[in-house]
Symmetry: C2
Subunit: 345 residues, 2 copies
């Protein structure tokens, strides 16, 4: 970073807030009043209001040695939008809390915000407030997203019923493999300044890790085809973990089929290279931000014709438990390995 | 802390979430669905919805050597409620984001949550969601509060008009003096284990720092008397700073009178002891969480009879600037010293 860098202390907290919030406009009718008061004002006379919060912590959720700040801002916003889509809603507003240590300059924070604002622009979300403060150590990003959904269209985790089909969008495990690749190149570089990492042929993995998208397109497609899922979640901690959440909330069991799990070619190549079990990566990798949902079996024909959606199994009576059926016909009980930041600490 | 301590890693993230959210019930009609889904669901068909976010960072906003975790939880919630009251609203829901380093045990987080839940109980607020993650260093608490207000009753910062009276609730500077006292006793103790700090006769200062309350009572009193402020804020960064915010947002100037600033006896004694200018402490101390508001001059008789509210000055034409009129009749321009965590870092 060779450009001019301005110490935050030279313009102060209020100066920084002025810089990062200048020129903010609103596109949603539900946004009444945004940045600049004790609280933002929104108005939702006819719909349910959805609220979700995510914290992203430096060196737990991201490593600034290979994550550009603009991408980080973009991803921080998008993962929250994903939670709103996962309730079959539309994200409308976000508030952004930032804790910043003194090694960050005004320009750094502007880069971070440019990513947040780009995500807002693309997804039609208004930035309506926040809090900016100091941190004694790393960067912490806390985003709260507000969205809406017609009252009878909200999809929770708890509505899955035996015989429902289990579907996922896109493919799984690529974001996790992208992380492995970035970590490997970081180790190889040993902090060398002009090091050029080897990403050729694995661009998809990098993109899935650094610049995920929320599946607004899938939500629209389902709605267009008249399909209302019986339960839904986004896949942030890994398919296994999320399937267990849905089954626990719905009081049901499930069977998913190994040969039905959607995996990209690049993910498979990378798993081979680092000698990792491909299905483990796809089932437990995390950060895919794809949608996992269930639909009544009567929707089979419609759903199986949709591009980018795959039927991977079905819901069972609770007594049958939750299992992955392997290619050779064995059943492996699902375990919530997930992305357990808690135990990794 | 002699009680049994459980490592968070032994029960994992999901185990911890189960522990801290067990037995949560909701009291507000607007709460449709809380913890346990991708997003919480709320419903506000007839009112404006207010949203505010605050981040509290260890060793920037609090020092765990003298702040009990239960008090910290209580305060974290209350400062957010205060922002909603400052818009003339009623807080209804909160989401809690926590980043926790490995030195915290399950019991520590339960203490923190017991304070958050106590505040929710007292103020009638529902805990509806959150995010719990690891931190590489200190504790970070991010709370988002949602509240409501009738559409024609929301009070912003921007409505103050020349001749309006400037009012504050309670007294100022005590929380800041409480912080000075706690810091002094920490230095004196030098980390000694059985050290007994000297707080006699200064209990009010300690309470104002460690366990502030949000002024729900003032909001109700104003409503009962039919007074709708023209502008309002809560005093978190200090009176000077907040007055400047109101004047800037409203495009006006102001005069406040030194001899009208409400100060408690204990605050005065402490300022004397540490040889600090009392008015500076009251004007710039921060963390008072009192309400600063303006009312039309026609409300003078009503407002001046209200207990716990003091008229401290008036709004002027913008050309006159913002000033404190000292006891000897001089005018000192107001400056936003505030509690600038940014430059302190």
């Amino acid at each position: 970073m060779e450009e001019k860098q301005t110490e935050i202390s030279t313009i102060g907290e209020f100066g920084l807030i002025d810089r990062i919030t200048s020129g903010i406009t609103h596109v949603n009718e539900s946004t009444v009043n945004g940045v600049g008061d004790d609280a933002a004002e929104v108005r939702y006379p006819d719909t349910d209001v959805l609220v979700t919060t995510d914290l992203l912590v430096e060196n737990v959720h991201f490593d600034l040695t290979y994550v550009p700040l603009k991408h980080l801002g973009y991803k921080s916003a998008v993962v929250n939008f994903s939670d709103i889509y996962a309730m079959n809603g539309t994200p409308r507003q976000i508030t952004v809390g930032l804790a910043i240590s003194s090694r960050f300059t005004v320009e750094h924070i502007e880069q971070l915000y440019s990513g947040i604002r780009l995500a807002c622009e693309i997804y039609g979300v208004d930035l309506v407030g926040g809090d900016t403060t100091a941190s004694r150590s790393g960067l912490v990003i806390s985003i709260t997203c507000i969205g809406d959904a017609p009252k009878d269209k909200v999809v929770r985790r708890s509505g899955a019923k035996p015989t429902d089909l289990i579907c996922v969008s896109g493919d799984l495990g690529a974001a996790y493999m992208g992380l492995q690749l970035l970590e490997r190149e970081k180790r190889v570089s040993k902090g060398e300044k002009d090091f050029i990492p080897k990403f050729e042929g694995k661009e998809y993995l990098i993109e899935r890790q650094l610049k995920p998208e929320a599946r607004r397109d899938i939500i629209r497609e389902l709605s267009d085809k008249g399909i209302l899922p019986t339960s839904m979640m986004d896949i942030s901690d890994g398919l296994s973990s999320e399937l267990l959440h849905i089954c626990k909330s719905s009081g049901v069991g499930c069977r998913v089929y190994e040969d039905r799990i959607p995996i990209d070619y690049q993910t498979a190549v990378m798993a081979e290279e680092i000698n990792m079990n491909l299905v483990t990566a796809a089932m437990n990798g995390g950060e895919d931000y794809e949608l996992l949902f269930t639909v009544p079996i009567s929707d089979y024909e419609t759903v199986s014709r949709l591009e980018g959606i795959k039927v991977i199994g079905h819901i069972t009576e609770p007594g049958l438990g939750c299992a992955l059926v392997t290619r050779d016909g064995n059943e492996m009980e699902l375990k919530a390995q997930g992305f357990n930041h808690m135990s990794a600490d």
